[in-house]
């Protein structure tokens, strides 16, 4: 009993510590951002959107946007960042370090071509770094095809490596006996849960084995990524629509590829209804094919993004009020919401996996009773 309370307390303290460290990171981040913005406004042109943008609220808004966006360098804390490789396909493959942009302040010259980083996007420019703007202040310069290892791509690679070695070690431990060892003690119940509560009830005893590898991968990938996103490093992988799009696309492709005769019959020529209704149902069902992965994509993306925005906005309120009396209240609120986000991190992974299994199940279902 005593031990239990002790461990709970240490977990709470660790979480509180993480949040305390996130606050200075936030403060420094927005100072830094403000500086770089002021400089950017000084030496580039058409920065009309930064006019009058120096009150606290605008700074907080900019910091949140900056924090959620993907970037070409990995910032650990103020002044401590490392550049990531930029890979462009523009008249041949161009590979160079993102440090050549000098945080977006200068034009990078590569093999006679000039590139400028503007609002986290790379544009092809002339030697002076001139951007031609349309009436909405969007640059009309050419954007080269971008295959860069950005912060998100980097984190995905790190996580893929981590998961590979973690689960390989767990699997290896079973060769010397059926008892789980080390990390396996923690992971075995979760893997069994995914199998017994998600895969088997939705896909069925007969077909579930084929899909277990994908379901487990997607479950742990989303869960770990959500948890890593809770750290103050500003990693927002699952809150990026491009990534959730790809996850949903993989689910979509696997569902359609494994669809059997009955699945397609139910979509294109629904049995058991009047013939006049069949084409109408076919249209609805075909729309449904695309709505299902679309809602998977939106749900994960919007949930994680909204979670990040809410927590950072509440931390931002500390700076809006700027009072030692009010700060603890917002600190407490952030702590409670962060704990809620830890729950949401697991819940979203569960729901994504559950719905994926449900769609696979509908594709492989046998209709022997018909």
């Amino acid at each position: 009993m005593h031990h239990n309370i002790h461990s709970k307390l240490s977990v709470s303290l660790a979480l509180a510590g993480a949040i305390i460290f996130s606050v200075p990171a936030f403060a420094q981040d927005h100072n830094h951002h403000n500086d770089s913005r002021a400089e950017a406004a000084h030496d580039t042109h058409d920065h009309t959107d930064s006019e009058g943008g120096h009150d606290v609220k605008t700074q907080i808004k900019e910091t949140i946007e900056h924090h959620l966006a993907d970037s070409y360098e990995f910032t650990i804390t103020e002044g401590v960042s490392f550049p990531l490789p930029v890979i462009l396909f523009d008249e041949g493959l161009k590979v160079f370090s993102s440090s050549r942009f000098h945080h977006g302040e200068s034009v990078a010259e590569v093999d006679g071509n000039y590139y400028l980083l503007y609002h986290s996007k790379i544009y092809k420019t002339d030697a002076s770094g001139h951007l031609s703007m349309d009436e909405h202040h969007h640059p009309t310069n050419i954007m080269p095809l971008d295959f860069s290892i950005t912060k998100n791509v980097f984190m995905i690679l790190v996580m893929a490596g981590f998961m590979f070695f973690l689960f390989k070690a767990v699997a290896k431990a079973y060769q010397s006996g059926q008892t789980p060892k080390k990390a396996g003690r923690f992971l075995e119940p979760i893997i069994i849960y995914v199998r017994d509560e998600i895969a088997i009830p939705n896909i069925g005893e007969k077909h579930y084995k084929k899909y277990m590898s994908y379901l487990l991968t997607v479950f742990f990938f989303i869960w770990f990524m959500n948890l890593v996103g809770m750290t103050p490093l500003g990693i927002n992988v699952t809150g990026n629509i491009a990534i959730t799009f790809c996850l949903a696309l993989i689910t979509f492709i696997i569902t359609q590829v494994s669809g059997n005769k009955h699945y397609w019959q139910h979509i294109l020529w629904m049995p058991g209804i009047p013939v006049i209704l069949k084409p109408v149902m076919a249209i609805i069902e075909i729309l449904g094919l695309f709505i299902k992965p679309f809602s998977l994509m939106m749900r994960l993306y919007a949930n994680m993004l909204a979670g990040h925005v809410v927590i950072m906005s509440i931390i931002g309120l500390i700076f809006v009020f700027g009072s030692w009396l009010i700060a603890p209240a917002f600190f407490g609120l952030t702590l409670v919401l962060s704990l809620l986000e830890v729950l949401v991190a697991a819940l979203q992974a569960y729901i994504f996996t559950m719905l994926t299994a449900l769609y696979f199940g509908s594709a492989v279902e046998d209709h022997e009773h018909h």
């Binding site: 509560e197 679309f294 809602s295 998977l296 939106m298 749900r299 993306y301 919007a302 949930n303 909204a306 819940l347 569960y350 729901i351 559950m354 719905l355 449900l358």
Partner: protein, 63 residues
């Protein structure tokens, strides 16, 4: 954001809130009637809530 967009976003939130509230309430009643089926009811509740939530977010983000 323009005024109609704000009103639309608010209406979305009301609709989604009512929907998820009804799901949660009904699940509570169902669990009270049949506590032994709690696990199954919770799963069904989460799926239904997730579907509504997905559309709610889609409506909010589609300006």
């Amino acid at each position: 954001m323009e005024i109609p967009e704000i009103i639309g976003a608010g209406l979305c939130a009301i609709g989604v809130g009512l929907g998820i509230g009804r799901i949660g309430g009904s699940a509570m009643e169902a669990i009270a009637r049949q506590p032994e089926a709690t696990a199954k009811i919770q799963t069904a509740m989460l799926i239904a809530a997730a579907l509504i939530e997905g559309f709610g977010f889609a409506a909010l983000f589609a300006k």
